[in-house]
Structure formats: structure tokens, C-alpha cells
């Protein structure tokens, strides 16, 4: 499946901004099962300087600055991404990997091969998951029993969050502490992902935050409206000898061909789509619009080839 992805962020400054430095994390990753075919970042006004690099986690970040007075900042990321979940699963490991118990996983994590060493940092606290409340520990303990398969436990955790938590965009902001989310059991995808990560880490196991998109389908018989999609987030659990497995607690499913991965990190702090320092007085407003849909060009092209 090939997708066209369009993500627009617009900031409007009441009194204009004289100067800004920004960093975006918008470029989808490429890995087995997901390939970035095209990518283009359009910034208005045109940046004075712009550069792209890989960050610590291997995500592509773009840094730019605008040195002229501007009332509006518009950042549009356009990507064409090919997704094939079948390539992502290594079937011979999958069966074995899913059987690895939590007890075994904890033991295997003590090893120092590069992949494990890398993964171990995701078992530690992080900027937005900076302390683990007893409530989170208790919530996690229900699913994570030593003799149980890590995969099953994680799957169940995902299901429980989906069932126990209400999707409520009015409840939380990016500054809402995890404790509050846990107490009220309300929030958005990013909160659910971080709750799940905190749960897994409370067991001493590595979990990371994944930012990306999910394709939403219009009600049957209706045309899909442009810009109605949104950024999405979910979590991923490291199963030693198997690898990272993604879970989407907002939609209660293993992310497959409808999910596009942009970046991963310890939590949202590491991978905000757009952040920056501006020099400005007065208030500002932000608008975000995302559109993810099967590529038209691809459809016609594949038809002509068939």
C-alpha cells in the first residue's frame, strides 16, 4: 500500500515574530515494512538556513531558522510512503518471540549485545515519564506476571487501556502529568501511549514512544474530507531476541498497514512534530491539519501496469 501524507502546521502570531529557531520531526522513517518514497518540507516564509540530520534515535530532524519579521509560520510536510506489514514480521522469530516470558526477558536484558544495550535505556525514566506512581505499578502488575509471555502481557495491557480509558481531547494537554491521566482515566493517544510505557517500565522492561499517523476511513458511502486526520502515537515493547513490537492502545490493535511511523523516542518529549524558540510579544495560535490517504498516482500507475 502506498500513501500520500500531508501534514500542515500553522502558527499565527498576534504581534509578529522577529526571529525563530525551529526543529521538526516530521519525516517518516524507513525500515523493513515501511519505505519513504518521497518527502518534501515546505516552509513559509522561506527559512534563512535549514539543515537536516539524524537525531540520537535515528529519526530525521530538520532545523531551520527564520530571521525576518513574520506574522505566520506555515510548515507543510508531504510524504509518499509505501507500507507492507508482511515484510515487517520475521515469521520464524515471531512464534518463538511471542513465547518469551517476562522472567526470561528480564534475564536476557542483562546481556550487553548492542541491540540490548540500546534497548535498556527505554526501561528507565524519561522527561515526561519521570516518576512511576504506585497506581501505575499496580495497574501494570495485573497483566505482567513473571511466568507470562511478554507479548501477551503487553497485548492485554493495550486492551485494558483501550477499555478502561476514555478518549477525551478536552481533558489533557501536553503538560498534563501522567498521574492525572492515570487517576481520571481520560486523555488522547499520546497519553495512552505514555501510560502504557510507564506500565511496561514499572516492570523494568523497555518500552518506547512511537509517533506517526493512522489512516481514518470515512463513514461508508461518504467522501473522505481533506485534513481530518491527525498525528497519532502508540507504544512499542522490546522483546529480547525478537525485537520491538508496536501496540496501539487507542485503537486496540497491532499497528499494521494503516499506521505510518514517523519517529520514536523515550516519550513525546523526544519527538515533537514541531518545536522552537521564537522572539515575539503577544499571543499566538496554532492550527494543525493532517491528511493520509492511498496515493492516487499509485492507483492509476498500478492499474496501467496490470
Amino acid at each position: 500500500m502506498i500513501f500520500d501524507l500531508w501534514h500542515k502546521t500553522k502558527y499565527s502570531y498576534e504581534n509578529g515574530a522577529s526571529f525563530c529557531h525551529n526543529i521538526t520531526t516530521l519525516k517518516p522513517r524507513s525500515f523493513k515494512g515501511q519505505e519513504l518514497l518521497e518527502y518534501n518540507l515546505e516552509i513559509t516564509p522561506t527559512p534563512t538556513d535549514i539543515s537536516e540530520r539524524l537525531d540520537f534515535f535515528g529519526n530525521t530532524v530538520t532545523r531551520f531558522s527564520i530571521q525576518q519579521n513574520h506574522k505566520e509560520l506555515i510548515v507543510i510536510a508531504r510524504s509518499k510512503v509505501s507500507r507492507d506489514y508482511n515484510l515487517q514480521i520475521e515469521s520464524k522469530n515471531a512464534v518463538e518471540g511471542k513465547k518469551i516470558t517476562i522472567e526470561k526477558a528480564l534475564k536476557l536484558l542483562k546481556e550487553v549485545d548492542p541491540e540490548t544495550v540500546e534497548a535498556r535505556q527505554f526501561a528507565l525514566l524519561s522527561p515526561l515519564i519521570s516518576d512511576i506512581s504506585p497506581e501505575i505499578l499496580a495497574y501494570a502488575a495485573k497483566s505482567f506476571k513473571p511466568e507470562r509471555s511478554l507479548f501477551d502481557a503487553s497485548y492485554e495491557l493495550m486492551e485494558r487501556i483501550f477499555t478502561d480509558f476514555d478518549f477525551d481531547p478536552s481533558f489533557s494537554t501536553i503538560a498534563t502529568p501522567l498521574k492525572e491521566v492515570m487517576k481520571e482515566k481520560k486523555g488522547v493517544c499520546q497519553d495512552f501511549a505514555q501510560i502504557a510505557i510507564a506500565c511496561v517500565r514499572s516492570m523494568g522492561l523497555p518500552a518506547r514512544y512511537v509517533s506517526g499517523y493512522i489512516e481514518t476511513l470515512p463513514p461508508p458511502g461518504k467522501e473522505k474530507l481533506i485534513g481530518t486526520d491527525a498525528s497519532h502515537a502508540w507504544f512499542s515493547v522490546f522483546i529480547p531476541q525478537y525485537g520491538w513490537i508496536d501496540f496501539d492502545p487507542t485503537n486496540n490493535q497491532i499497528p499494521k498497514n494503516q499506521h505510518i511511523v514517523v519517529a520514536y523516542g523515550r516519550d513525546y518529549y523526544d519527538v515533537p512534530p514541531l518545536k522552537g524558540v521564537i522572539y515575539s510579544t503577544g499571543s499566538s495560535t496554532m492550527d494543525v491539519a493532517v491528511d493520509l490517504r492511498p496515493a492516487k498516482a499509485h492507483q492509476t500507475q498500478s492499474q496501467s501496469q496490470s
Binding site: 525551529n22 535505556q121 501536553i174 518529549y269 514541531l274 518545536k275 521564537i278 522572539y279 510579544t281
Partner: protein, 852 residues
């Protein structure tokens, strides 16, 4: 002599600790200390005590301070230096020096590895959590390449003598270590106060170390410019070691800047100066890692520069030490240092360390928790919270709490063996007393090795029983001598023998923040002095009336003067409006408020406070005499505030003293700060303030047309407050008349207290400011001051004197003065707009309220 000998060290034997620097276990004096002790005995306890007082005085006079956050004693606690130095012989030091060089190199290699290949983690030399759980490991600094062969450029090591008699490493400091400047100032102070203490002792001097340091700062510049631009980045005057920042700035001759003096554009770092932007090549920073860049590091930081890390990545600027080096300030590295040393250098560690157990390892954690009270527990990174626990002193509840914390986040804790370090003699109340000490020395990258300061800073525990040696908790310091059998060079002269030219060559290069502070210092100082003089005049007038209250006009004139105080200082309502009656009933109360209430905007005390703040941030430009006068002003104010009751006499006497000191301060400012360092801005501020206040004074005193008697009183007071009565008599030798007063104080072109003269002076100074336009075009500031001048020249004196029949006021004069006041304000704003750092406020695009 004999009795003296006893009295000075008699008690020392009694109090001797387990391990002492001066005494052997057999109570003999150690040979390295013999000469020093002889010198101390020769000088004698009384003279030592008086010399100690000299040192205390000298340090206070030089303004050597150390700020303690939330200190009840207030900011700027004086630095303490004990007269008795600490000694290590060259023979022993050679080994210590090698050990430090080795340690610096290992830390350098760790730093390179952690932000590079991370082989130490991949090869199992360090458990990954030791690094990943440490907040000093900054992922944004990953894979940054540097042009310098060493990545760790400065390393401070805290050393103490362990039970085996060797010097042990207690701490490593690698972000922005402090103490170098204090160490140097200690040496200067001891040398100056008591040169005879050095008799027959060959003390190594730090001159060549500081040469190396200066060379390092120049060499790390990434571009090959001939005179790299080096700046010293300070968090600001509230920082605990701000004295040292300004000290190093004056000593090394590099500008002292704050984060908002710098800006990143086109991937380069620029200093905002009066003339525009100037590229910065090297930043010696005293700001901690995470505060350095609000874009990529701590988002709520206002101490750093947005985009700085990218400029580092592009190799357009060098930072000393590189951002991210705080990861080395990690006691969890200690248990692995021996292996790391083998891994990198295939050597054993030369310097012993304190036995440490990282709780992230199961076996070690169990070992520690089984007997927690016998350890000192530390967090692996220094966060805001308490990070060191002396477990033997914790009660049950505290121990339980700590145990729980360790179990919850074992990776964040390290336990260390309790060590009793050695004591050294400290001179207290005419005798020597053993005190625990901690030595800090410095190591800096030089070619393929490290250059170590011979000596350093020794800190002494505040109390005899104190375990924890730290300046943050108070305490004192010592000079640190490395003594040799060979004769040594003398200490290089106080004035730094620079091999490079001073960076600030012309007024164009003055950082705009400095310029702004100078401008405001001038304004506040002008306001303070003007207010003091005016209040003093009124107080004297009150005393006069008190004794000669026969004439009606005098009490009436007093009322006018009271109300003018409110108008001139803008301390409304004061003597005006609804408040009038009550204030007039007890005028001294209101005047005391205008004088001493620092919360009252416009009061003398508040202006002085504002002046203090803007001037304090310019410390690196000060001369020592200025500090002394400044300090005396502060003390005088403090003293008067402690009084319970105020009288006209006491307040007037207070202002007498203040005025003398403020004038002394002004004179010193003028002779200490160079025009090219921005003195012009100070003058501009001063003149603009004085001109504005003169205008206000005239508006409150001579607009209304009074009867002859009253007018005479008012004019006399006006001339008095302007300190112009004598010159008036000299110039006019006539009865006081409004016309002559206006001619003298408003229009005289040659009298320096006249408004006309001040305006012309402002114009002259503005003409000397850098012109950012093309040469022929006038700047906005020039145009504005020109308008002021034309305005005052446009109204003939006859018109000024005209009295409006209806209101019985000199309306045209009032309009003129009011216009002049507005135009001066516009001129001031245009100076501020043109020359000062007016970047809009720094904000996050999205405020995530994360302090990490």
C-alpha cells in the same frame, strides 16, 4: 618567643585528629611544614591576627564575594581566606599531577566515547544505565565532532588526603568548574598582605598555568582567525560565583556576556554590540550544560542561546567545556574507572578514589542496603534535590525513605565508603586549630596532555566537626602551596601580561547589554543624586522654619516645596490630591518614605536599588576604589534603615553622607571606565535624567506666579537645591529674580548645571555614538536631540515670563517645559531602540513546562 610558640600550637596537639597534615603520629612537625611553622611563629600570634584582619579587609575591599542562594545574610557574602596556607611538597605533587593528567585523559576519552561510538557500553565496560539514567547525558550532543584533539578542555578535581596518606580523588567537575579565579585572588591576597610568610619557602606560582589557559582559549577557536573573539558567558549577578566570572573577565580581558547578549544567526554565534553583530569564536561558559540552548536543551532556560548547539555542530564556535561534559560528573563512574583506565590506556589508576558501589547492580545494591548506615549515599546526578546523604546521621524514618528510593530507582544511587580525611592547621583566634580540608585543582588541555595548576583552592570545613566541605554552606578557604627545594619565579604582576590585544577596541564593540546597563546606571545615579539633594534642601528648609516660624511666607513656601517633592519624584499621591491634608499633618513621615522606602517607586531608596542592580551587573568594569565607595553606600543605607526614629537632622545628615559618596562614585566612574568601554552611555543616561528632573523641578516651582515674598523663598530654595546660590550671587549680584534664575538655570550655555548646557552635552555625546546609517545621514537619536535644542531656543525669555491672567501662571513656560520633557523622553527611547538589545522576548513555540 617560646611562650608564643606554645600559645599558637599548644591546643593543636590536644585537638589533633586521626590524620593531620602538620603533625606526624608521633606528634612531630612534618618536615614540609617546618619552614612555614617557623615563619608563623616568627610573625607571632598577634601580628598574625592583625594580618588576618588585613586579609579580611582586603578581600572585602576588593569585593571578593561568594553568593549563597537564599542566604539570610543577603547577597555577596564576603569570601573568607585563612592566613595559613596548605602545603604539598613538589615531590609528592609530581605524582598527584601525573595522576590528575591521567584522570583528565581518561575522562576525555570517556566523553569522546559516550557521544561517539559508545564502545564502553557495547563492550560491557560500563553498564548502560550508568550513562542512560544520568541526566547529564545529553542525547542532543550525540555524534558532535570537534576540531580540538581533546574533547574535555577543563577538568577540576577535588582531592583530600585519605587514611593511607595519599591524596584521593573525591569529585570531578567538568561542566563549568569554579574556583580558578578565587585561587588566584587568594594567592594575590596572601602575597600582598603578608609577604614574610613566604620567607625561605619556594612556592610554585600559577603564572604559566594561566598562560596555558589563555592560550587554550585562543587555540580552540574553530576558524583560523588571527584574534579569535573569546567571551565569558555568565548566568548573571545572582550566580554564586559571579565575582569570579567578572574577575576572570577583567583578568583575561575578555568580555563578560549573558545569554541574551548573544544570538545565533546563519549557524554562527554573534555578540550584539553597539555597532551591530560581531562573530564569537570561543565561549568560556559558566552556565551549566542544560541551560545552554533552549531550543535543544532545557526549554525554560533564559541563560543560554537558542540554536547554539547547531553552531557547535557546524564547528562555527567552540565552547569550553563542550556542552554535554556534565555526564562525567557522575559518581557512578567511580566503580568502573579502574576498568575504563585499563580499557583505554592499559594502565592502573594513579590516584586512589573513594570505594563506591553503584546500586544499579544487584549484588552491590544488596551489599549496600544490608548496612546502609555505614555509607555516604549520593545521587548519580546533581539535581535540585538533596544529593548527598550521610547515612549514619539519618533517623529510622529517613533511612527507610532512602531505602525505598534506592529500591525504586536503583540506577540513580551510589554508595560510598565513609572516609575520614586529614585535617590541616587553620588560624583561629590567635591559635592554630585542625580543620578538615578539601583541595580543588585544575587541569586544562595542552597539546597532547594536560597542564595542571600548581596548587589551587583549598576549602576548609566551617566547624571543627563538620564533615562536608562546601562553599555553598559557608566556610573558608586557603591558599594552596606547592613547595619546592629549588627557587621559583616570582608571581607575575597583578596586571595580566597579555600576549594578545584587548578585544574591546572601540565603542563599536561594547556589548549592547553592557551599554544598556551603563545607560541605566547613569539614569538611576542621576535620579538618586537629584532626589537626595532635593530632599536635603527641603529638610534644611524645614529646620530653618522650625526655628524662625515668624514669617507666614515661609510656612507657605514649605507647603509648595512638599508638594514639589511629590511632583519631582512622582511619588503620588504624597503631598497632593486626597492625601494632601494627612501628609501635611506629618510631613516628616511622608519625606521619610520618599527617602527610605525601597518599595515606593520614585523614592531615593528605590532609585538607589535600581542603580545597584544595573551597576552590579557591570562589575567587571569596576575599579577597586569604586567597589569600596559602592560598598560604603550600601552599608550607610543599611545602617540608616535600622534606625527606629528619624528626625530632620538625622535624615539631613544621612543625605549629606550619601551625596558625598555618590559624587565620589560618579567621579570614580568617570576616571575608571573608558569611553570605548561605553562610558558615553553612562553620561548620556546621567545627563538625560538630570535634564528631565530639572525640568520637573521648574514645572513644580516657578510656573505659578507668587507674591514677592513667597517668590523669593521659592527661588532661594530652587537655587539651593541646584547648588547654584553662590554662582547666582556671583553672576548677578542682585536680588533674586525669576528672569535671572531662568537665564542661569535654563538658558546659560556655559554653566554646567543649566538645562541648555545639559542638552548641548547630550547632543555632543549622541554625535559620538556609532552611526549605523550612512555617514551623512543623521540617526534618529541625532534628529531627536536636535529637536529638543531647537525647541528650547525657539521661545524668547519674555514669552517664558508671560503670566496668563486667568490662571495666574506662566503658561508658555509650562508648555515649553512639558514639550521639552516629552522630547527628551523620545530621545531616550530612540537611544534605547537604536543601540540596545531589543530582541523580543524569547518564548517556546509550545510551552511544554518540562524542566529537563
Amino acid at each position: 618567643m617560646k611562650t608564643d610558640t606554645k600559645s599558637i600550637i599548644k591546643d593543636y596537639f590536644k585537638n589533633k585528629s586521626k590524620y593531620d597534615e602538620l603533625l606526624t603520629s608521633k606528634m612531630d612537625i612534618k618536615s614540609d611544614w617546618k619552614e612555614l611553622l617557623d615563619n608563623l611563629l616568627k610573625i607571632g600570634p598577634e601580628k598574625l591576627a592583625s594580618k588576618q584582619a588585613d586579609i579580611d579587609w582586603l578581600l572585602a575591599e576588593n569585593g571578593v564575594t561568594y553568593n549563597v542562594y537564599n542566604d539570610p545574610k543577603g547577597l555577596n557574602r564576603p569570601w573568607n581566606l585563612n592566613i595559613v596556607p596548605f602545603i604539598i611538597h613538589q615531590k609528592e605533587w609530581d605524582v598527584v599531577e601525573k595522576g590528575i593528567q591521567q584522570r583528565s585523559e581518561i575522562l576525555n576519552l570517556i566523553l569522546k566515547d559516550l557521544y561517539g561510538k559508545r564502545e564502553l557500553l557495547k563492550n560491557g565496560i560500563i553498564p548502560p544505565e550508568v550513562i542512560y539514567a544520568h541526566r547529564g547525558f545529553l542525547r542532543s550532543c550525540d555524534q558532535i565532532a570537534y576540531k580540538t584533539s581533546k574533547q574535555l578542555l577543563i577538568h577540576a578535581v577535588d582531592l583530600a588526603r585519605g587514611p593511607d596518606g595519599r591524596m584521593w580523588v573525591v569529585n570531578d567537575r567538568t561542566q563549568a568548574p569554579s574556583g580558578m579565579g578565587y585561587a588566584l585572588e587568594n594567592r594575590f591576597s596572601i602575597s600582598k598582605s603578608i609577604p614574610e610568610i613566604f620567607d625561605d619557602i619556594n612556592v610554585k606560582q600559577p603564572s604559566s598555568f594561566f598562560n596555558d589557559f589563555n592560550q587554550l582559549l585562543l587555540n580552540v577557536a574553530p576558524s583560523n582567525v588571527e584574534n579569535p573573539m573569546v567571551v565569558i558567558l555568565t548566568p548573571g549577578p545572582l550566580n554564586e560565583t559571579y565575582f569570579e566570572h567578572s574577575y576572570l573577565s577583567s583578568f583575561l580581558g575578555y568580555p563578560l556576556v549573558k545569554g541574551n547578549d548573544l544570538v545565533v544567526r546563519k549557524g554562527k554565534v554573534w555578540l550584539k554590540s553597539l555597532k551591530g553583530l560581531k562573530q564569537v569564536d570561543v565561549i568560556l561558559r559558566r552556565v551549566d550544560d542544560v541551560f545552554m540552548d533552549p531550543l535543544e536543551l532545557r526549554e525554560d532556560s533564559y541563560l543560554g542561546v537558542a540554536g547554539l548547539l547547531e553552531a557547535v555542530r557546524l564547528q562555527n564556535v567552540a565552547i569550553v567545556n563542550p556542552i554535554g561534559s556534565g555526564v562525567l560528573e557522575n559518581p557512578a563512574l567511580i566503580p568502573f574507572m579502574e576498568n575504563i583506565c585499563k580499557y583505554f590506556l592499559n594502565e592502573e589508576l594513579i590516584l586512589p578514589q573513594i570505594a563506591s558501589w553503584w546500586c544499579g547492580q544487584e549484588k552491590e545494591r544488596k551489599h549496600v542496603l544490608s548496612d546502609l548506615t555505614s555509607y555516604v549515599v549520593k545521587r548519580i546526578d546533581r539535581s535540585n534535590r538533596e544529593n548527598i546523604y550521610f547515612c549514619e546521621f539519618l533517623d529510622k524514618e529517613e533511612l527507610k525513605k532512602l531505602t525505598d528510593e534506592i529500591l525504586e530507582n536503583p540506577t540513580n544511587f551510589v554508595a560510598q565508603e565513609k572516609i575520614s580525611f586529614s585535617t590541616a592547621p587553620n588560624f583561629i583566634k590567635e591559635h592554630l586549630e585542625p580543620r578538615k580540608i578539601l583541595c580543588r585543582t585544575f587541569s586544562i588541555a595542552k597539546e597532547d596532555s594536560y597542564s595542571v595548576m600548581p596548587g589551587g583552592l583549598v576549602r576548609v570545613a566551617a566547624d571543627r566537626e563538620e564533615l562536608f566541605v562546601s562553599n555553598q554552606r559557608g566556610g573558608t578557604s586557603k591558599d594552596f602551596w606547592i613547595i619546592s627545594d629549588d627557587s621559583q619565579n616570582y608571581l607575575q604582576n597583578y596586571s595580566w601580561n597579555k600576549t594578545i590585544s584587548n578585544q574591546t577596541l572601540s565603542i563599536n564593540d561594547v556589548p549592547s547589554n553592557t551599554a544598556e546597563n551603563l545607560f541605566w546606571s547613569g539614569r538611576y545615579l542621576g535620579r538618586t543624586l537629584f532626589t537626595a539633594r532635593y530632599l536635603r534642601m527641603v529638610l534644611n528648609q524645614m529646620m530653618h522654619v522650625q526655628f524662625h516660624n515668624d514669617r507666614k511666607s515661609e510656612s507657605e513656601s514649605l507647603k509648595i516645596l512638599f508638594q514639589s517633592i511629590t511632583n519631582i519624584t512622582s511619588t503620588f499621591p504624597g503631598f497632593t490630591g486626597e492625601n494632601e491634608e494627612e501628609a501635611l499633618r506629618n510631613p516628616l513621615k511622608e519625606i521619610t518614605g520618599v527617602a527610605l522606602d525601597s518599595r515606593k517607586i520614585g523614592s531615593f531608596a528605590q532609585s538607589l536599588q535600581s542603580f545597584t542592580i544595573s551597576y552590579y551587573s557591570l562589575r567587571n568594569l569596576w575599579s577597586k576604589d569604586m567597589w569600596r565607595v559602592f560598598d560604603a553606600i550600601q552599608k550607610q543605607l543599611k545602617k540608616v534603615k535600622e534606625e527606629e526614629e528619624y528626625t530632620m537632622v538625622s535624615l539631613s545628615a544621612f543625605f549629606d553622607k550619601m551625596i558625598t559618596r555618590l559624587i565620589a562614585f560618579m567621579a570614580l566612574t568617570e576616571e575608571s571606565i573608558l569611553v570605548r568601554h561605553g562610558l558615553l552611555l553612562y553620561f548620556l543616561g546621567l545627563q538625560i535624567e538630570q535634564a528631565s528632573m530639572t525640568i520637573e523641578k521648574f514645572r513644580s516651582l516657578i510656573i505659578v506666579n507668587y507674591d514677592e515674598d513667597l517668590e523669593y523663598q521659592i527661588l532661594e530654595s530652587l537655587l539651593n537645591s541646584h547648588e547654584s546660590l553662590n554662582i547666582y550671587r556671583h553672576s548677578y549680584s542682585s536680588y533674586l529674580s525669576i528672569e535671572n534664575v531662568i537665564n542661569l538655570l535654563l538658558l546659560d550655555t556655559e554653566y554646567s548645571r543649566s538645562l541648555m548646557y545639559q542638552i548641548q552635552r547630550i547632543k555632543k555625546d549622541i554625535d559620538r555614538l556609532p552611526n549605523t546609517n550612512s555617514k551623512t545621514e543623521l540617526t534618529q537619536c541625532q534628529e531627536n536631540i536636535e529637536t529638543v535644542l531647537l525647541k528650547i531656543q525657539s521661545v524668547p525669555i519674555e514669552e517664558m515670563l508671560e503670566i496668563d491672567k486667568n490662571s495666574n501662571m506662566r503658561k508658555k513656560l509650562d508648555t515649553l517645559l512639558s514639550d521639552l520633557s516629552d522630547l527628551l523622553h523620545t530621545t531616550s527611547l530612540s537611544i534605547s531602540d537604536t543601540y540596545f538589545n531589543h530582541s523580543q522576548q524569547q518564548k517556546q513555540l509550545m510551552d511544554r513546562k518540562i524542566a529537563n
